[in-house]
Amino acid sequence: MVLVVFGVALLVLAAAMVVLFAMMGELASRVPGPSTTRRDATVRALDEAQLGSVPSSWPPGLEAGNGNGNGNGSTVLLVLSTICATCADIATQLTENPGHADWGELGVVVSTSNQGRGNDFVARHGLGAFRHFVDTGGDWVSDQFGVRVSPTALVFTAGRLESAYVFYDVAALRAKIKKEREDRQMQREDSQMQKEPT
């Protein structure tokens, strides 16, 4: 009798294992492979941005990026909007694909029609890990810098808006900013060398 019970239990267990492995196989077939999305690497200047602007005030959440908080006085604000389809992809790039948690000077401004939708956007895309500000109506970013386009990047040096870009690929944007800074540094060094007496 005991043998029969054990036999039935073993049979049920074996059937359960088969079902389990079949489920895993089915699940694996439904999961897409590694993303092979090729994003547009274009990064171009945003003409309408008021370069040279120094914001009269920094909103809560972005104070540390006003040029005094991160050592070298530089910061980059990414302006995303809840109404912009590409901005969701930019947010995904920041958090997981491929992720840019190492970008210390980064801040995110979420322009939105209302606070609730902005908060949802931040929560859904995990932007809470970055310095961020939900800009209702886009009032702060448009009043301070004349920007009403997303996705855009505002690059500050010592609290002053130095350059502004429209972009689609965060990695391409970072490379562009890095190259621009290196070029400026070389220009400064060249001009200093020319000023020095021979």
């Binding site: 109404i83 389809a85 939105t112 209302n114 109506g137």
Partner: protein
């Protein structure tokens, strides 16, 4: 030679049936697990138009939208110099609750 080839054909006939059966078992198991343990995510009713993500299908012009209380924002769309203006009218409440209608237009 003949036996080998016929044996191969027999094997090939049998594998898809086994795969289909196990696939069916797996799909049934997943469906059952999803029914028991799964929690549906909130339905998203947002509409994509151009580069805009709107609360409703566009029903008015942007000029009409830009009256009273509204939210308008731009985004680059496809070609480098094509921009869309995305507008939501009456956007005062949380999420899309108080949006009365949406509109968009794209231009170079």
């Amino acid at each position: 030679m003949t036996d080998d080839s016929s044996g191969t054909r027999a094997t090939r006939r049998w594998i898809p049936g086994r795969r289909a059966f196990l696939g069916g078992v797996g799909a049934s198991g997943l469906a059952t697990a999803a029914t028991i343990f799964g929690q549906a995510t909130p339905a998203s009713a947002l509409v994509n138009a151009g580069c805009c993500t709107l609360c409703f299908s566009p029903s008015h012009t942007v000029a009409q939208c830009e009256t009273g209380q509204y939210y308008v924002w731009s985004c680059p769309y496809g070609s480098q110099f094509l921009y869309c203006n995305c507008c939501e009218h009456g956007a005062s409440g949380d999420n899309c609750n108080h949006v009365t209608y949406s509109s968009y237009s794209c231009q170079y």
